[in-house]
């Protein structure tokens, strides 16, 4: 058995079909090493949440195997649950209970010894910045406070592996940063393995040691953010025309230096090998092309998604929402 199977996550050929729907998860393989932060990136409806539900024992797989911390998710559900912490997409808090009430309930149900519960609750409330709001009902909490409480609840029994299903969706940048910081600290200081789903490129880029990109139930790319971007290799150049009427001419001009990219705000090309920003600046200057801004961008995870699926992540999310409404991801 591998180290990941014993202490991390090992998934082979995982399939999950819904009775009257398509395959939400279509034969995926994932290995997450102990202590790693694995970012599972994809648009709405890609199969991220279904995968989390299977790995956290809430849904049985249709086919394939999955081991979490060495335990089989089908045959050893209670063992799996004892070593994982989970914050699902919906924070699912009781509006009438206080933050401290939630921690008391969760620590009791997770089997935290009675004499440790109060101190553990105080520690976690302090850690997620909710010490002052601890005795207020959750119905008065902001979205960010609810997410941070959810995170504290997932940590109450000191899990070895943490599943976070879109932990920052809908949060303002400040709350998002606070959640990122807490996840990083847990991983760094306690060595917690983190399986994080997200539809935010920046989140995967900032937090994850490795990223798996899922689309329509299949993993289309996997690696460190740097490796994935290196696959794309070439940077892109983005130009903003001074006059909108010049857009087509500028696009034609730039296409001499690379492959056009589908963008709405600017005109962009993926540069051919060997070309750099200096080459473009010289050509723009020499040809009197009238632009207000010219920018060189390193490849992003969105470029990786585009290269692997033919769509941007944002476009894929909009497509999914148009097809099925804001649905299960």
């Amino acid at each position: 058995m591998t180290d990941a199977a014993e202490n991390g996550i090992e998934v082979e050929g995982l399939v999950r079909e819904y009775r009257k729907g398509p395959r939400a998860v279509d034969g995926i393989d994932i290995t997450v090493a102990p202590g790693e932060i694995y970012g599972f990136l994809g648009p709405n409806g890609a199969g991220k949440s279904t995968t989390v539900h299977v790995l956290t024992t809430l849904l049985p797989p249709t086919a394939g195997t999955a081991r979490v911390a060495g335990y089989d998710v089908v045959k050893q559900g209670p063992k799996v649950r004892s070593v994982i912490g989970v914050a699902l997409q919906e924070a699912a808090l009781d509006p009438l209970l206080t933050g401290r009430d939630h921690l008391r309930l969760q620590s009791t149900l997770q089997g935290v010894p009675k004499h440790q519960r109060r101190a553990r609750a105080d520690e976690l409330l302090h850690r997620v910045g909710l010490a002052e709001a601890a005795d207020r009902k959750v119905q008065g909490y902001s979205g960010g406070m609810k997410r941070r409480l959810d995170l504290a609840l997932a940590l109450v029994h000191s899990p070895r592996i943490l599943f976070l299903d879109e932990p920052t969706t809908g949060l303002d940048p400040q709350s998002r940063g606070a959640v990122w910081e807490e996840v990083s600290v847990m991983n760094r200081e306690a060595g917690v393995t983190v399986f994080l789903t997200t539809q935010y490129l920046e989140e995967a880029d900032v937090l994850a040691d490795r990223v798996g990109i899922i689309d329509q139930g299949r993993i289309v790319a996997e690696g460190t953010p740097a490796e994935l971007k290196a696959e794309i290799g070439r940077p892109s150049v983005h130009a903003i025309p001074r006059e909108e009427k010049d857009r087509a001419a500028i696009a034609a001009f730039l296409s001499r230096y690379g492959d056009p990219l589908a963008t709405t705000r600017d005109v962009a090309v993926r540069l051919r090998d060997g070309l750099g920003l200096a080459d473009i600046v010289r050509a723009v200057d020499a040809n009197g092309v009238d632009i207000v801004d010219l920018e060189l961008r390193a490849p992003s995870l969105d470029d990786v998604f585009l290269a692997k699926t033919g769509r941007t992540l944002e476009g894929a999310t909009e497509e999914a929402e148009a097809e099925q409404g804001p649905a299960r991801s």
Binding site: L58, G77, E90, L97, L105, G111, K137
Partner: protein
């Protein structure tokens, strides 16, 4: 961790929730008493009918709030559980070491605690308006035991509806149906004095009549073993049937591996 601790934690939450929403805690107390007061004022003269078992309509009617309060418990248990399913709170609980049975037991323990508190309030109201309890202190103890069983049984009905449908709206939609059972019963007149035949037959077929008569017998008659046996029998039967159904529905609802 012991099941006892799990049941205690869930029950505590159930009670705390109810106490923190006065709109849910107060009507089950006030409404049955108000209905009893209105009925006592309007129907007091029915005590003059030949064969009416007491000369105090309040004493006769005091049994109704016990059962009506328990019906409210059904709704509280059901809507609370259905909301937990809808919001994903049951998923949160599923991810802990909580046993399925402890979730149901804890929720129902909370309902029973509130049911007993209601029963004590109704007893005190009865004492305050001068009702004598014919079965004495022992009868009051049996009445409280009956309140436990009725709250548990009706709570199980609510829990079953919640686990089966997963919808608070559906559970609440059943409320009028359950109240029909209360109103087509012997709540306002002894069955043998009901003049309309279909009503008398319906009241005789209605288990709620026997639960009301069980409580009523302790208040106005003393120890009527037949009334006690029928009341406890029907309450226990409803409890066993719906606890079984609720347990099965819960198992389907908590689909963790």
């Amino acid at each position: 961790m012991s099941s006892f601790a799990q049941v205690g934690a869930i029950a505590r939450r159930s009670v705390v929730r109810t106490l923190r929403q006065p709109a849910s805690a107060i009507p089950p107390l006030i409404f049955p008493v108000a209905l009893m007061a209105v009925n006592a004022a309007g129907l007091d003269s029915s005590t003059e009918l030949p064969g009416f078992p007491t000369d105090s309509f309040l004493a006769f009617a005091l049994a109704v709030p016990f059962i009506q309060g328990a019906l409210f418990s059904t709704m509280n248990a059901g809507t609370d559980l259905a909301r937990d399913i809808q919001t994903g709170f049951v998923n949160r609980l599923s991810l802990t070491a909580l046993r399925d049975s402890a979730l149901l037991s804890g929720q129902l323990t909370g309902v029973v605690v509130l049911g007993v508190v209601q029963a004590v309030v109704y007893l005190l109201i009865g004492v305050a308006v001068g009702v004598d309890f014919a079965a004495g202190i022992g009868g009051i103890a049996v009445l409280l035991l009956f309140a436990v069983i009725v709250s548990l049984s009706f709570g199980a009905v609510g829990a079953y509806l919640a686990f089966r449908t997963g919808s608070g709206e559906t559970v609440q939609a059943m409320f009028p149906v359950l109240f029909v059972f209360l109103f087509i019963s012997s709540m306002n007149a002894p069955r043998d004095l009901i003049g309309i035949e279909w009503f008398r037959i319906a009241a005789t077929l209605n288990p709620v009549s026997y639960m009301i008569e069980c409580v009523r017998s302790l208040i106005i008659e003393g120890w009527d073993l037949q009334a006690l046996a029928l009341g406890f029998g029907f309450a226990i039967a409803i409890g066993v049937i719906f606890l079984t159904l609720a347990t099965r529905a819960l198992r389907l609802r908590m689909t963790r591996t």
